[in-house]
Amino acid sequence: MLEVENLSVSYGAGDVLRDVSFSAAAGERLSVLGPNGVGKSTLFKCMLGLLKARAGHVRIDGKDIRDMKRPDAAKLIAYIPQSTSPAFNYTVLDTVLMGVASQLPAFRGPCGAHYDKAMDILKSLGIAHLSDRGCGKISGGERQLTLLARTLIQDAHILVMDEPTANLDYGNRFRVMERVEALGSKGYTVVFSTHEPNHALSYSTAVLALKDGAVLAWGDPAAVLTEDTLSSLYGIGVSVGRLEAAGKEHLVSIPYHRPAPAAVEREV
C-alpha cells in the first residue's frame, strides 16, 4: 500500500507540489497525468525517497520512506526511468543483474542463482534471446523491457515508471503498456506517468491529474478523464468518445483546436 499524504515540495522560492494526497493499493495501476513541468518527476522522486518534501509524508505499508535506509527502500519500491541510451554498453543480462544490488552485501556480486533468476525473468518478458546483446544496441522498447526486468529482480512490489512509452514507436508502446497491465494483475502496484490520455483510459485503474502542482482530480479513469478535465489540464479542446474495437468497448480521447481566450493566454 502506497500512501502520499499532503505532500508539498519546494525548490527555493514557491512550491513545486502543493498538498498532494493519494494512495494506491496492491494490483492498482495508477496513471499520473499533467502538462510538462507540473511536478510529476518531483513527485516520483519523493515517492522513491530521493527528495525531501517540505511538508507531508510518503508511506509504504505504513512506514515513512524517508526513515528507511536505501537498500530497505529498494526492496519495497522500484524505479524505471525513461529509456535513454546508457553511458556504457552493458549487456542486457548485466543490466538486469544490477537489480539485485539491494540484496547483496557491499563486497559481493551476483552469483549463479541470480543469473538463473534473471534469465527466467527475461524469458517471461520474451527478451531472453537478447541477454548477451549490448543495451546500447537494442531498440528503445527492448531497453524499456530490460529496465522492467531489472526492477522485477529487485523484488519490490511498487513500481514507479517515468513515462514508460516515451521515445517508443506505436507497436512498442502497446507492448510495454500490455506488460504494465499484466503486472497489475500479478499484484504489483504500478504508478506511471504518461502524456497520452488514451493510455490512462485503457491501462490504468485510477488516474491522478496534476495541474499547477496540485491535484486536479484523482479517481476512476472514466470518471476523472472527462472532456472538461482534459481541456483544463492541457489548454486544448478534447473530445472523449466510445469506440468499439477488437470485441471491446474503449473510451478514447481526441484533441481538437479550440480558440484560446486570448487575453489570459498572452499573459502567461
Binding site: K45, L48, L50, K69, R70, P71, A73, A74, K75, I77, A78, Y79, P81, P86, A87, F88, N89, Y90, T91, D94, M98, G99, A101, S102, Q103, L104, A106, F107, R108, G109, P110, D132, G134, G136, R150, Q154, V160
Partner: protein, 336 residues
C-alpha cells in the same frame, strides 16, 4: 561467454608474469640467467653473493625498484581511470579529471623550488595531489549544480589553477638547475625510483586498490543515472566518495613517484573494455594487470631504447595518442 573472458584473463595474467621477470634482464649492464639464479639462491649457497655482487646491486638496487614502481604506477593509473570513468559515466575521463595530477605537479615543483630533496618532493607532490581533489570536492559540495557536473567543473577549475601555479614556480625558479629539474620531473620518469621509496608508493596504491577491487561490482551500478542507482538501493553519495578517495590516493601517489604520465589511465581501461566487456568485476583486475604490464614494457623501452633516458610521459603519449585516434575512428566499441 564467461569462458572466453576467463581464457583472456589467464593470457593477460601470463603476459604480466612474463614481462615482470624479463625486465630484470633488460638494461645496459647485462645479467645472465645464471647469475640471476645464483643471486636468488644466495641465501642457501655456501659462497653467498660472492662473485655476483655487482649483478646483485644492479638487480635489487636499480632494476627491482624501477620495475616494481612501473608496475604499481601502471596498475594504479589504469584502475583509477577505470573507476573515474564509471563514476562520471564517461569513457573519455582520465585520472587527473579532479586535479590530482596538476595538484601533485605543483607540489613537486614547489618541493624542488624549496630544495626539499627527493623524499620531500615526493611527499609534497602526494599531499598537494590529495589537497587539489579535496578542494574540488568541497567546491562541488556547495554548488547548486547536479553532483557529477559540478564535480567535473570544479576539477577543471582547480586543475587549471594548479597548472598556473606550477608555471609561476617555473618562472621564479633558478634557471640553472631548478627549472630543468622541474621540467624533467613533469615529463615523467621512474629513473630516480629507489628501493627505500617503494613502500611510500606501494602503501597508498594498495590501500586504494583493495576497496576498489572489493567494491568493483557495485561500481557497475554507479554508471547508471544517480536517481536510478539510488532507487536500486545504492547509497551513491557514500560509494562515490569511496571511489574518489581511493582513485585519488592512487593517482596522487603515482604522480608523486613518476611525474606526469599521460594516457595510461585513459587508454588501458578502453582496451580492457574491448577485451573483457563492461563489467567491473573483470574490468578492475584486467586494468590492474594490463596497466602494470604496459607501463613496465614502456619503462623498459624508456631505459633501453636510447643512450640517454627517454622521459616516460613522452613515450606514453607517443603510444597513447595514435591509439586514441584509432579508438575515435572506430567508435571505441569494436565489440561484436
Amino acid at each position: 561467454m564467461t569462458k572466453k573472458y576467463r581464457r583472456r584473463m589467464i593470457v593477460l595474467g601470463l603476459v604480466f608474469l612474463t614481462v615482470l621477470p624479463a625486465s630484470f634482464f633488460l638494461g645496459r649492464y647485462s645479467v645472465s640467467a645464471g647469475s640471476l639464479l645464483r643471486i636468488l639462491s644466495a641465501p642457501f649457497h655456501p659462497a653467498g653473493l660472492e662473485g655476483v655482487t655487482t649483478e646483485f646491486s644492479v638487480i635489487f638496487r636499480i632494476r627491482l625498484p624501477r620495475v616494481a614502481a612501473a608496475a604499481l604506477v601502471g596498475a594504479a593509473l589504469s584502475t583509477a581511470g577505470a573507476a573515474y570513468q564509471g563514476m562520471f559515466r564517461n569513457p573519455m575521463v582520465s585520472p587527473d579529471i579532479l586535479g590530482a595530477s596538476s595538484g601533485a605537479g605543483f607540489g613537486a615543483a614547489l618541493g624542488i623550488f624549496l630544495s626539499f630533496g627527493y623524499l620531500g618532493v615526493t611527499v609534497s607532490a602526494f599531499l598537494f595531489g590529495l589537497g587539489a581533489v579535496l578542494l574540488a570536492y568541497s567546491v562541488s559540495r556547495f554548488s547548486r549544480l547536479e553532483g557529477t557536473l559540478s564535480l567535473v567543473l570544479a576539477g577543471v577549475m582547480i586543475s587549471s589553477l594548479f597548472t598556473a601555479c606550477t608555471s609561476f614556480i617555473k618562472l621564479i625558479a633558478d634557471a640553472q638547475d631548478q627549472l630543468p629539474a622541474i621540467t624533467y620531473w613533469l615529463m615523467g620518469s621512474l629513473a630516480s625510483a629507489k628501493l627505500e621509496d617503494l613502500p611510500f608508493v606501494a602503501a597508498p596504491v594498495v590501500i586504494g586498490l583493495v576497496p576498489l577491487f572489493l567494491l568493483r561490482w557495485r561500481v557497475n551500478v554507479l554508471t547508471t543515472e544517480d536517481d536510478e542507482a539510488q532507487s536500486l538501493g545504492i547509497n551513491t553519495g557514500r560509494l562515490r566518495l569511496t571511489v574518489i578517495v581511493c582513485a585519488t590516493m592512487m593517482t596522487a601517489a603515482s604522480v608523486a613517484v613518476s611525474g606526469m604520465i599521460a594516457w595510461v589511465g585513459l587508454v588501458i581501461p578502453h582496451f580492457c573494455r574491448l577485451m573483457f566487456g563492461f563489467d567491473y568485476r573483470r574490468l578492475i583486475p584486467a586494468s590492474i594487470l594490463m596497466g602494470a604490464a604496459f607501463l613496465v614494457v614502456v619503462d623498459n623501452v624508456a631505459r633501453v631504447a636510447a643512450t640517454s633516458e627517454i622521459p616516460l610521459g613522452i613515450l606514453t603519449s607517443f603510444i597513447g595518442a595514435p591509439v586514441f585516434v584509432y579508438l575515435i575512428l572506430t567508435g571505441g566499441e569494436a565489440r561484436a
